[in-house]
Symmetry: C3
């Protein structure tokens, strides 16, 4: 197991692990936010979910969509669409031996931008708050992809 402890003694990799865990936990919070709005607003997608609120036709009225719930779901999907590339590209970038302070700058910017994106989406803040947060996260991931391909391209 020597090499494993070595991996976790690598500072870039440890930083990647910490920031990734934080941003994935934040993404998981979106599930509970959806559940919270579904329960407090009585808005459900499945018939079995509203069985506790009435029988038969009476329960069916809760099978509807709600702007607030849809907003959280869009924020969650946007997280998925952006955190998955960060996860893959960031992992490979961390293993490619980048400069520690450059790497940490990338991770901090990404995590900060995604947290701000969620705040801007759920409040909602006026544009271009959300667009800006999106593009910072997007640019960070592209910057890591560029450095990775430049130094380690093997096709």
């Amino acid at each position: 197991m020597a090499n494993l402890s070595q991996l976790m003694e690598n500072e870039v990799f440890m930083a990647f692990a910490s920031y990734t865990t934080i941003v994935l936990s934040k993404m998981m919070f979106m599930s509970t936010a959806t559940a919270f709005y579904r329960l407090t607003r009585k808005v459900f997608a499945n018939q079995e979910d509203c069985a506790g609120f009435g029988k038969g036709e009476n329960a069916k009225k809760y099978l509807r969509t709600d702007d607030r719930v849809e907003r959280v779901r869009r924020a969650h999907l946007n997280d998925l669409e952006n955190i998955v590339p960060f996860l893959g590209i960031g992992l490979l970038y961390s293993l490619s031996g980048p400069d520690l302070s450059t790497a940490i700058l990338h991770f901090r910017l990404f995590v900060g931008a995604r947290i701000y994106h969620t705040i801007a989406y759920l409040t909602p803040l006026p544009q271009p708050n959300r667009a800006l947060a999106f593009f910072i996260g997007y640019g960070v991931t592209l910057s890591m992809a560029y450095r990775l391909l430049k130094s380690k391209l093997y096709l």
Copy 2:
């Protein structure tokens, strides 16, 4: 390549690899389930998909939504939303040198909960079957995230 074979001789990592492969294969099965329901129920989202069932206006009637297809798609999206954090956090957790039996308990609970979640969603079973399966998987991922941040936080 010495260190690579070492990585795959690490028991926690091998267990993570096996359980991850199983749960991702299960998630991929959702794609074929969607395709199956789309084809047997003739419910399509794209005009080119129903071209084989008729010409022009005749084919357009198959561009519709169906409760069964939407249910599979929601189950698939829920898988994505939960398996992506497991993938990222679980990988880093596996590399952080956890106790083998604790790690395997986490992996087994997660994979079992996600398989049960799919069964509960597609049958559908009455609540709280699906909610319980969801929260077990969710709790397992949070538990790994907590252990990872507690032992290896580096910001």
Copy 3:
């Protein structure tokens, strides 16, 4: 850091890193395609996004769905559903010491199939172009999962 540089000197792993970075960058391109169609067609999902196009009720008319935008979003979601398993299974497969030429064949087929899938979805090309591209990518991932479980199963 000896083991890290060793990891990146492993040819299979370097190839995986390169192809993954390419396919994830392609997936990220879908976000900008969605934004492009939303802006040129003035089709928005959030009220704050169309505030620049008018005040109050006048802006609300841009809160609508559009077939072109929905098509890009479906292509994006399909990417997510297929690239996430490739990311997880492919990483573990790459670490399991496969034959270099076999591994590169897998990666090339997958990346080619996903790029063709996007072209077939967005053009759109008549079926079975898109279905074929989907099944090639699907088959590649299942083939890697099979080899991984066959050689390294540990439950």
